[in-house]
């Protein structure tokens, strides 16, 4: 996935042009927000995750920590995926003391149909581990190759394939039970 404009903007940010970062946000926020929402299963978490991810990306660019080995887009996907995976783990680990907390409060500005579909997707993928879920979403939903998925998740290509097989098997097993 070539992103010459993003590379240019990233170089400008690295040279101290703060406003160039707005271009990166404008160009990528839709795709990255959907990725964060699909991985975390919550529109509320998605926005927080994405905001944190952008701040991390900006810091890395300013401190010259982006080495340019991968494309800017893949690199941003990596930051957002890691942040969303952490948020999902935190959400799963959080004990639900109040029944009202079980259902996260949703932003009313978000399209209700999309929100409902996201809830359904979250429910459908609920049997999968965070790792299996992220591989399935990146490979089958976002359309990344095995190599790119491995690069985004920071694991081997073999691990990606293995998680994908397990994810599909778990979905099959769940279907058999229902």
């Amino acid at each position: 996935m070539a992103d010459p404009d993003l590379s240019l903007l990233a170089r400008r940010v690295a040279k101290g042009d703060v406003e160039a970062f707005a271009g990166i946000v404008r160009e990528t926020q839709g795709r990255l927000y959907r990725l964060a929402a699909r991985l975390s299963g919550s529109t509320n978490d998605a926005e927080d995750v994405l905001q944190e991810a952008y701040v991390k990306a900006f810091n890395a660019l300013q401190e010259q920590r982006f080495d340019g080995r991968s494309s800017v887009q893949t690199w941003l996907y990596r930051i957002v995926s890691n942040a969303a995976i952490d948020a999902t783990r935190r959400r799963k680990a959080r004990p639900v003391s109040n029944p009202d907390d079980a259902e996260p409060r949703e932003d009313s500005s978000v399209d209700p149909e999309g929100r409902m579909a996201l809830r359904e997707l979250d429910e459908w993928l609920s049997e999968l581990s965070v790792e299996q879920r992220s591989v399935l979403i990146l490979r089958a939903v976002e359309g990344f190759s095995t190599v790119e998925t491995a690069e985004i998740l920071g694991c081997s290509e073999g691990a990606v394939e293995q998680r994908l097989i397990r994810a599909r098997a778990n979905l099959n097993k769940r279907r058999g039970e229902t």
Partner: protein, 86 residues
């Protein structure tokens, strides 16, 4: 249902979530946070610079005072030796 149907359902749910987008003003909120961070960093850098300048000035004053004291001592020694000679 088989694996293909699983993928079809996944695709259908994915399409349905395609309308999701950040709430209005998201980009502005991100940029406000980033500008605030840059501003904070800039003040920190200025603070460090000011601290270094103050330390350098103090060191310069101390060295100057030290040199002045040395000159005074030398002058006094010279004066004493002249008095003794006379």
């Amino acid at each position: 249902m088989n694996g293909d149907e699983d993928l079809q359902q996944l695709e259908a749910l994915t399409r349905a979530t395609q309308s999701l987008a950040p709430s209005p003003g998201f980009e502005a909120r991100v940029m406000t946070r980033i500008r605030a961070r840059v501003e904070r960093e800039s003040w920190r850098s200025r603070g460090i610079l000011l601290g270094c300048f103050a330390a350098a000035a103090a060191a310069a004053i101390w060295v100057a005072q030290l040199e002045q004291r040395q000159v005074d001592t030398d002058a006094l020694t010279l004066f004493d030796s002249m008095e003794l000679t006379q």
